[in-house]
């Protein structure tokens, strides 16, 4: 069917101005769709990265997924207990070393046991409630980005002094402490210890920077008055997206509550779903606009070419072939438009990624997040080509159904 293409090509190339407008319509649609998609995805990825980086992918806590059985229920089959005070059990994960090593054997990633307790940090006359996490500095590096977020000191400095702590930038400012200052930690168990601040971190996440401190496992165990306590295991996976399945496997294996980062942020992630939907609508609308450009141009061309259509049909060229000539024209315009639009989209995304903005919450300067993959270009390109072909269907169908005799009579 080379000659159909040749006719189509001759039509579009002999009407440069019209073709150019059509190409421009498609290119604009494609270019801005690519930019929009880049911005939406960039923002989302940036957010998820911050999320994934700052928190463990899975947190296993000593919380049980169901109420413990009452002793009577364990002793007698028929016994049924309700509305009783829960059986008192010592908190913490039993046999933490065994659990950790058995999880380590199959989890694709790193796992670090830790202690999470509530504590009070006291400096001079100020008392601030904080969440204290007792960590092993060597293992911590493998499960969190803490090491990379240190503004002063390092995680390793925890080794260098008894009861040393790392505190967040915001909290440090609030309390007026700096590296080397001495702080006192106390807990509800009536234990209190004093130690120096050896490092200051900044995650740019308010909750963490203001309400979280880190100390050695030992220090936390002392504060909890439980020398062997381990009540939390944090997991960092090689593939963050596998967190959900791994979490449910851990829960099934150990019976301890395992929360994936997706579950912990399910409300945010569901907001992303809505965002995605809105993005699809906006992109669809943009493509629709360029589709209309094609529709109008193909309508004009077919209208101008009524005589040609009539004569081709009278020569014995099939209606579908004649129609396909104009659909090919639409696809040619669409194709050039997609190429131009991809270039425009590339230019826009590169330009936008050069722009930096001041984060209103943290005050830091950062580039506008934008993220486009080659797949996006291809997908948007194919989609708009498809739209072009569809847009051409109706006008070409109408035009090629014309009865040649009607045109020939009118002309002579």
């Amino acid at each position: 069917m080379g000659f159909l293409f040749e006719i189509a090509w001759t039509h579009v190339s002999s009407r440069i101005r019209q073709t150019f407008i059509g190409v421009l319509g498609v290119a604009t649609g494609v270019g801005f769709t690519i930019m929009m998609s880049g911005l939406m995805q960039g923002g989302q990825r940036d957010f998820i990265h911050t999320l994934i980086d700052n928190m463990p992918h899975i947190t296993v806590t000593d919380e049980r997924t169901s109420v413990e059985k009452q002793p009577a229920e364990e002793a007698y089959q028929a016994a049924q207990a309700a509305n009783l005070v829960a059986v008192e059990r010592r908190s913490g994960i039993k046999n933490p070393n065994q659990v950790v090593s058995s999880l380590r054997s199959w989890i694709p990633g790193a796992i670090a046991p830790s202690i999470k307790i509530s504590a009070m940090i006291n400096v001079a006359e100020q008392h601030v409630g904080v969440s204290l996490t007792g960590i092993d500095p060597q293992q911590e590096e493998r499960v969190s980005k803490l090491a990379g977020e240190m503004r002063q000191g390092t995680i390793g400095d925890l080794y260098h002094a008894a009861n040393a702590v790392l505190i967040g930038q915001t909290l440090a400012t609030k309390l007026g402490v700096r590296v080397g200052s001495s702080v006192t930690l106390s807990t509800g168990e009536g234990v209190s210890v004093s130690g120096p601040v050896v490092g200051i971190f900044e995650f740019h996440v308010r909750d963490i920077d203001e309400g979280q401190i880190y100390a050695m496992t030992r220090t936390a165990q002392v504060l909890a008055a439980r020398p062997t306590l381990i009540n939390e295991m944090r997991v960092r996976l090689d593939d963050a997206l596998a967190a959900r399945e791994v979490a449910s496997q851990i829960e099934a294996q150990t019976g301890y509550r395992s929360i994936s980062w997706q579950e912990a942020n399910s409300d945010l992630l569901s907001a992303f779903k809505i965002r995605d939907f809105i993005m699809m609508l906006v992109m669809g609308a943009m493509l629709l606009v360029s589709t209309f450009a094609i529709y109008s141009i193909i309508s004009t061309i077919t209208n101008e070419k009524r005589h040609d259509i009539a004569i081709m049909k009278s020569l014995g060229i099939r209606e579908q072939w004649v129609q396909s000539i104009f659909i090919i024209e639409s696809i040619i315009i669409g194709f050039v438009g997609v190429i131009g639009g991809s270039a425009l989209g590339y230019f826009l995304t590169v330009s936008i990624s050069q722009i930096t903005y001041t984060n209103p919450f943290t005050g830091g300067k950062q580039p506008v997040p934008i993220y486009v993959t080659p797949t996006d270009y291809v997908a948007i390109g194919i989609l708009s080509l498809f739209c072009c072909a569809v847009a051409a269907l109706l006008p070409t169908w109408k035009a090629t159904r014309v009865h040649p005799v009607d045109i020939i009579r009118g002309a002579s």
């Binding site: 001759t10 004569i311 009278s314 020569l315 014995g316 020939i408």
Partner: protein, 233 residues
């Protein structure tokens, strides 16, 4: 007895609509192979409508059209298009060349639609056709670079592209001066000599007289059929 190329049996064409009319009203006609038939008649007599029916451009309301022994009323649109492409060549009053295509490409169009020859053969044959019609210098020109007579001859060359057995022409000389008219008619005359069937609608009685047979149509019917085979040949 020569073979019948085109035969009609009670051919009727009616149009319904705001104005209903019977354009062709029961035409029975036989045209043999190699015959040159001229159809004449006053304006609005239905001669063009008859021609469109004969050329499968239009479908009759009633009756049957038989082309080379094949009844056409039951053929699909695609089959009719194929039959038109391979066996019928059309020439209109207006040349209807594709304006963006050079003469040679216009002539090659039906060949390419039929797709039986290689590209090189198509070009050779197209060039030969144009040359045989005295259009050597027009081969690579666009239609708007040609004179009216040249355009009409290119249109004839295009009609002949697939070596059709039947040539149908609707006032092919209507827009031409007397010299060009003469040329075009001689070409049609020669085609009939090459054993092709030629059916021409014309107003020009002088030209009609040069046909093997003249059929006069009045009010959609054959009013008179003058056969003069021997004199013409």
């Amino acid at each position: 007895m020569s073979t019948v190329a085109v035969e009609t049996v009670g051919l009727v064409k009616r149009v319904e609509g705001a104005v209903s009319a019977t354009l062709v009203n029961g035409v029975d006609l036989k045209v043999t192979e190699g015959e040159f038939v001229a159809i004449t008649g006053p304006s609005g007599s239905g001669k063009s409508s008859l021609l469109y029916l004969l050329g499968l451009l239009d479908a009759p309301t009633e009756g049957e059209l038989i082309i080379h022994g094949q009844a056409t009323s039951r053929l699909s649109d695609t089959q009719k298009a194929q039959l038109r492409l391979s066996t019928i060549g059309f020439v209109f009053q207006f040349h209807f060349l594709l304006p963006e295509f050079r003469a040679i490409n216009n002539v090659m169009l039906p060949m390419r639609a039929l797709g039986k020859l290689s590209s090189a053969d198509m070009r050779d044959q197209g060039v030969a056709l144009l040359k045989s019609l005295g259009l050597e210098e027009a081969i690579n020109k666009l239609p708007n670079q040609l004179s009216g007579g040249q355009r009409q001859r290119v249109a004839i060359a295009r009609a002949l592209a697939n070596d059709p057995q039947i040539i149908i022409a609707d006032e092919p000389t209507g827009n031409l001066d007397s010299h060009a008219t003469d040329q075009v008619f001689s070409i049609l005359r020669d085609l009939a000599r090459q054993h092709r069937t030629v059916i021409v609608v014309t107003h020009d009685l002088g030209l009609a007289a040069r046909a093997d047979r003249t059929i006069r149509i009045v009010d959609g019917r054959i009013a008179q059929s003058a056969c003069d085979l021997t004199a013409a040949k």
